[in-house]
């Protein structure tokens, strides 16, 4: 059985239950039960109409669960009769679910967890494993998130930008467990792109595809990071790059630029270069200028300084860097790189060591420590 196909039906099934009058939290539980049941039953007895099967089973589960406390809640009249299936509004329902699960009243971690479960159809255990927290903690995070959005009307229009931020977080999460979060983020963004015509949704999808294409080349067999310039470009996934570039070009043609399109444009320029030396850094600097205009983010300015260093030489990069706050994350790492390019190995080695000390993750710390060690060994020779 194709689990991805099964999970792709999750949002529309859930949407149907909610439109029939089930409250979101109870409907979501019922759909989870139906998914578990499908995994158990389908391999031996595949249904002719998978979606219809899921709707029927989920609705039964919902009725059973609601009846169980119906006496207390006096809801018999609401749930006693099974309504006729409404018109198939699957696409719209899917979109509404994205909005609900990324509702601004949720914290980022709750929005991520709820999206992965209610839209992605992942189990609480899978999400807990992916984020390295106990299952009980994740279960509470999800039920709390459901309570938070319980008063939100399902048909209320939502904000695409909040949805995109949630999907970006899922994609960018480095943890890996049983579930490939990057692939899941791509699947969910693709599904969103099918539900709404929006250039930034396309931009994010392109950005993900372009980065995902380089994944195999990003890490050495020992787990260490391989910087972009040293990656074996033969291991980049050309199909994924071609798809990402195609989606990006169509989005850019609509002339409604946003930050994800700009980021994807930078990723596309890297992907387009046959060798690191042939990278079009001048164009990349221009895209960073656009990105800085769109976001005003200091991290963008830091990355821009690297690009300026490549386009106009390390001195120009250092000048761009001088205008930035030295307390920014990765500032020391960028300074180290530019000083090395400028030939000042002593300063570069000192700054690499400082950057390693401040690195937020293990792979990056090891990488920076190795850079410092490499320069120190060369200087002492």
């Amino acid at each position: 059985m194709n689990e991805a196909l099964l999970r792709s039906l999750t949002p529309s099934v859930l949407g149907i239950l909610v439109r029939r009058g089930a409250d979101f939290a109870a409907a979501e539980d019922a759909v989870q039960d139906a998914l578990v049941e499908a995994v158990r039953v389908w391999p031996a007895d595949p249904p002719r109409d998978p979606k219809g099967w899921l709707v029927t089973v989920a609705w039964r589960r919902f009725l059973d669960a609601t009846r169980a406390d119906a006496a207390r809640r006096r809801r018999e009249d609401l749930v006693d009769e099974e309504p006729a299936p409404g018109p198939a509004a699957a696409v719209d329902d899917t979109l509404q679910l994205y909005f609900l699960c990324a509702h601004p009243s949720l914290t980022p971690s709750s929005a991520v967890a709820l999206t992965l479960r209610a839209v992605g159809g992942l189990t609480t255990r899978q999400i807990a494993q992916a984020y390295l927290v106990p299952e009980a903690t994740m279960a509470q995070r999800i039920s709390r998130a459901k309570r938070t959005v319980s008063g939100v009307r399902f048909d209320q229009p939502g904000n695409v930008a909040t949805v995109l931020r949630v999907l970006y977080l899922v994609f960018n999460e480095g943890y890996s467990g049983d579930v490939d979060l990057a692939a899941e983020a791509i699947r969910l963004t693709r599904q969103l792109a099918a539900a709404i015509d929006h250039p930034e949704v396309a931009g994010l999808l392109a950005l993900m595809l372009l980065h995902h294409a380089r994944r195999a080349a990003r890490t050495a067999p020992d787990g260490s990071l391989v910087p972009l310039a040293e990656q074996d470009r033969g291991r980049w996934d050309t199909e994924s790059i071609a798809e990402g570039v195609g989606i990006l070009q169509a989005a850019l043609a609509r002339d409604r630029l946003g930050e994800f399109q700009a980021q994807a444009a930078i990723a596309a320029l890297h992907a387009d270069a046959p060798t690191a030396e042939e990278t079009d850094w001048v164009q990349i600097v221009e895209w960073y200028d656009e990105l800085a205009r769109l976001t005003d983010s200091p991290v963008v300015r830091l990355n821009r300084a690297v690009a300026v260093g490549e386009a106009d030489g390390p001195r120009a990069g250092l000048a761009a860097l001088a205008a930035l706050d030295a307390s920014l994350p990765r500032h020391a790492a960028v300074a180290a790189y530019l000083h090395e390019r400028d030939g000042d190995l002593a300063t570069a080695a000192r700054l690499y060591a400082e950057a390693a000390h401040k690195a937020p993750d293990l792979a990056e710390r090891d990488h920076l420590t190795r850079q410092a060690a490499r320069l120190n060994a060369r200087r002492c020779r």
Partner: protein
């Protein structure tokens, strides 16, 4: 979505405001303290922020490799080590500010006289995995 270690020291942290050794509390005060810690962990589980909590015995042994085919060398316990870890709690929260807020609450656990200990807890971020999008 970042994990932090809230580290509690037997020794090595600055002195707490209500600094009375636990063996000089009343039994009720000890029970109240333990209850506070349990309630705190239970509450964090409810908010979806709890990862792990452990307490350690104060006495430990240092161990090191001593060469091929030889048993490891052990040393200690040392009565005078400057820094001694008492236990920890691991939390998974949305921001550094939230980690600090929670550490502050944990530090308010009641001690002698039923008053908050105001002990110093150390907040240390986990080194995470690298993000996918970096450039």
């Amino acid at each position: 979505m970042a994990k932090y270690l809230l580290l509690k020291h037997y020794r090595g942290a600055p002195t707490a405001v209500n600094d009375v050794p636990m063996d000089q509390w009343t039994p009720e005060e000890i029970s109240a303290h333990v209850q506070y810690m349990n309630d705190f962990a239970a509450r964090l589980e409810k908010t979806g922020e709890f990862v792990d909590g452990q307490a350690l015995a104060p006495e430990g042994t240092f161990v090191r490799y001593d060469g091929e085919g030889r048993p490891p060398v052990t040393d200690g316990p040392f009565a005078e080590t400057k820094d001694l870890i008492a236990g920890w709690m691991v939390i998974d929260v949305d921001s550094y500010e939230r980690a600090v807020e929670l550490a502050g609450e944990l530090s308010a656990a009641p001690g002698a006289g039923g008053k908050p200990i105001h002990e110093w807890l150390e907040v240390r971020p986990f080194l995470a995995c690298p993000p996918t999008i970096t450039e």
